[in-house]
Every structure is written in C-alpha cells, then in structure tokens.
Homo-oligomer: 323 residues x 2
Amino acid sequence: MNIEMIRAAAGRLAGQVRRTPLLGSPFLDEIAGRRVLVKPECLQHTGSFKYRGARSALSALTPEVRARGVIAFSSGNHAQGVALAAREFGVPAVIVMPADAPALKIANTRAYGAEVVLYDRATEDRDAIGTALAAERGLTLVKPFDEPQVIAGQGTIGLEIAEQAAEAGIGRAEVLMPTGGGGLASGIALALAAEAPGLRVRPVEPEGFDDVKRSLERGEISPNARLTGSVCDAIVTPAPGAITFPILKALAGPGIAVTDDEALGAMVQAFTRLKLVVEPGGAVALAAALFHGREIEGEAVVVVLSGGNVDPALFAQALDRFA
Amino acid sequence: MNIEMIRAAAGRLAGQVRRTPLLGSPFLDEIAGRRVLVKPECLQHTGSFKYRGARSALSALTPEVRARGVIAFSSGNHAQGVALAAREFGVPAVIVMPADAPALKIANTRAYGAEVVLYDRATEDRDAIGTALAAERGLTLVKPFDEPQVIAGQGTIGLEIAEQAAEAGIGRAEVLMPTGGGGLASGIALALAAEAPGLRVRPVEPEGFDDVKRSLERGEISPNARLTGSVCDAIVTPAPGAITFPILKALAGPGIAVTDDEALGAMVQAFTRLKLVVEPGGAVALAAALFHGREIEGEAVVVVLSGGNVDPALFAQALDRFA
C-alpha cells in the first residue's frame, strides 16, 4: 500500500469520479472559531465517497476476472458504489446487505442493477455469507475498506485536498473525516503524507463506537463492544482493518468522538449553511470541527462530508429539533 | 446590454464567485425521460446566484461612488448577495425587505453586516422607500434584475453552462431556469446566444405568477395579477423588466409554469438524488424538467437550481409529503 497505488487509481478514475469542490461558509467559520473548508463527497456519484474505492477496485481487476462479476457486503454506501461501478463495466454485482439497512439504500442498490441478498445483522455472519457466494459463483469479493485498491480509490480524495488546500493558501491544517473501518482515513493519510505533509489526518467516530480512536490510544486494534444503536449507522464497523490500522497508527493524529446529537446538529448546519444533504455518519467530522474545537489544532480545518444517503423522515426530525 | 458586458463581468468576478459544477443523476434522467444536467447555484456564496449579479454591480462602480454605500430591495436572495458583496468591498449596505420575508433570510442579511429596513408588502411601495433612502444618504441603488451590470453578473452562469455543456458533449439543448424579473434568464440567454447558439433559454415560473410566460405569449409586458400566495416567494415579481423583457422576447423559447406541489416535489428529488438543498422557487426549473417533459424538446435538458435558502420547517413538511 503506497502513494504510487493512489496515483495509479487517480489515473484510472479520471473522468469517472467527480472532483468535488472545497467549500466554506463564514457562518461555519464563526461557530468553529477557525476557517472550515468542507470537501462534500455527498456530491460524489451514488451520494458518497465509496464510489471512488469501488470503481478503483473494479478497474484494477483483469477483464476476465471482472467479467465473472463482483460481490460486496455493506450497510449501504459501499453497496451502491460497487453496484454502479459494476453496471458501468457491464458485469454482475451481488450485494449482501443487512435486512435492517435504510430502505432507500436497499432500493438504490437494486436500482443500480445489483442483486441484493439480505441477512440478519444479529444472527448471521456477513463475511461467511459473502465468501460462500463468491466461491459458488466465481465472484470477486470487493471488501469495503481493508482492500488496497479500495484504499487507493479513497486516497484520491487526499490528492484533491492537497491541491485544493494549496490553492486556498493552506499549508498546515488538520483534516477530519468520518471513520468506520479506516479506508477513507488511511487512503487520505497516505496521499497527504506524500503530497501535503503539513496536513494531518484526524479520524472522527460516534461516541460508543470509537474503535479507531481507542485503537490509536492503545497502539493495538480494540474492537467495538457493540455494532447497533448509533444514528451514524453508515460508519459503525467492528474494528479498524489489518491494512488500514497500521497506516493510521503511523500517520494519523488522535481520534475524536462525537455524540449522535452533535452529528445531527452538524447535519442541520450543512443544510442551512452549505445547502448540502449529509447523512448523520457523514457529518461527524463537521460535528467535530464545530463542537470539539478544543481537540483540534491550527487556524484552519479541512472536513470531509462522506455521504448524503439519509432517510428523509430522520432528516425532517433533525430539522425540527436543531434548525 | 451585450455579451462584452458579460465577459467583462466574468473577468471582475474571477476568483470571487464559485464556478458551480454541472451535475446529473441516472434517477433524474429516468423520471425526465431525457438526460438532465443540473447547475446548482444553491452552492454559490450566500446560497443563490444573486451574489453574482450583486458582486458584478458593486465591482462596476467607481471607488468613490461605491464608498458611499449601496441600497437594495429584495425578498431575500438579492439582499444577501448585495450585503456580502458590500462587506467584501468594505462599504455600507442598506437592504429594504418585506416584513414577511423568511426569518432566515432577514437574519442572514443582518449577519452579512447590512442594515435591514423592513416594509409592509401590502401597503407600502418598496421602490419609493428605496429611492428616498438612496437620495437621503447618497447610496447607489442596486436593482434586483433590471440593471445591466446585474444581468451581466447572472450571465456569467451562461458562460459556464456553454463551456460545461460542450465538455459533456451537448451542443443542442433547452436551458431551464427559475424566472422572476428575468435577470437570470436574460443574462444566460445573451451568453448562450454568443457562446452556444444550440442552447435555448426557457423561463420557468409558478402557476398563477407566470408574468414572463404570458408576456412572451402576448409579445408585451403583462404583469401578475397578485404578488402573494405562492410557496415560490423568491421568484414572484410584478412583471418582467424594461431591459430583461426585450432580451427574452428576442432569445427565449416559450415559458413554462409549474404548480407549487411540483416545485416541492422537485425540491425533494434534489434532496434525494443530488444531495442538494434547494428552495421551492429555486426548484421550479427542475420541476419543469421532471414533470413537464412534453413541453420540452431534445435529448438533454440543462436546469439551473437558483437558490437554497429555504425555511427548515417548510423543507421538513415537504419531505413528509413527497419523499
């Protein structure tokens, strides 16, 4: 896993992924007490950064292997990314999803042409299901984060941030991103280490599901005690990965944990101030920038909004409570 | 009023306005029955395209005149645009606003540092109030649409659409935009006539407030019978302007009128499919593309989302009804 893989992924993704802008708002700067620059990956194809990693992984397969099809397991955003990338290449995609995933995510994954296989998150093991189906049909498993070509795809966000921060005159800053298994954080960390060493990654998670934060504190992988009960469902994963964690241990600053209400409040700020739709899990880094300023260093902070696939009823409730 | 003024405005605005992207979604294409390309000016500074015209107008004043300050009357988006542009130039801004404008718009205008003077939309004449204040304090009146340098600023959107449509391989298409007094539509029409003659402007308005549509049909200015009662408040104006109407008469195709429910439905589609926050008036062109396809010609349509300053409670209600 190295910067050359990220540069190669950027070449394969050119013209396919959206180069998302770097936005700001004087109102957010005022709340945060420093300049806030936002990278809205909710505007990416399929509504999340996951399309980058999926497209990177599929584009790295040989045509023969890719033609047999791919399989993925995901609570939603990775699923949509793999489904769209597979459709673009004209190959089959099977997505193994928890039966309690948001209805919109299941419907969208099917709409992108994928076959959806549902499983019970409490009683079944998605890895076992995925591995069995892959073997049976000759499908290639595209892991959601602990997979070098996926990490390379997510790392292209880091290449863009390095360029865009330089254009904005920012040479030193912390870069906050929502973190589940660490594919996004580790990809960006590798890209920034090579291209913008004054920018440092800070993983952000929901309180009670802060496996990356704890693992970084302890210096070893420390899994989450539970996997349900956060409104930030999209970024709750069992533990950082065998590939992602060593990268974060070497390159990332300390993790930050935010409450569900802080995530929802940041979601409403993105609505009001940036005119962007962000899902709760996608808003945790903005929540950290707005409400945990004392845990952050520097005059400017860069924040990744990682996805926008939020249930409309939940969004309406958050507007009622926090707007 | 000519293309050279728009090109000059683009030069003055370079590095100040956001060059908004041209986005799409396969789901919107499916609903519309043709390719839909969206220009999200809700992502512009202050949350609407109005900043372009305001910044253009202020930047065209001599430093001496500008230093005495500016005044504007507006239901909200023009107000915020003028307020921010004035703050950037370090000059005073007085904004005359209807007392029943959305609270968020009044608060934001004040937050940008402007002095807000409220008036009663039913009993007072905003033009008279504005003119008197301007004379009294030596302020320059920045009209919301019937002002050449404002039209030139809005026309920079047309220059961007011409380039971005060509990059997307689109040489012939109709270009739909929300239309009040016609500043946005006439500016884009002039830009496209010069830079992309295969693209034709189609003004879109709320049903019952379709003064531009009727005026184009009759060949003469035909004012609205009433000015209140539409959820699309941001784009309800008395009549097309003395400068904007002749431009639209020469260059635009027929107008399209959409219902309030269609506007709200399009607002929800922008939420779900594009992850963008759009106000009802800012969504009428998308509503026309999605729900009035038989009134549109061609394999692709370009749609301007003109603003995103929507009341959160109204947005939550629309999600409950249409998502």
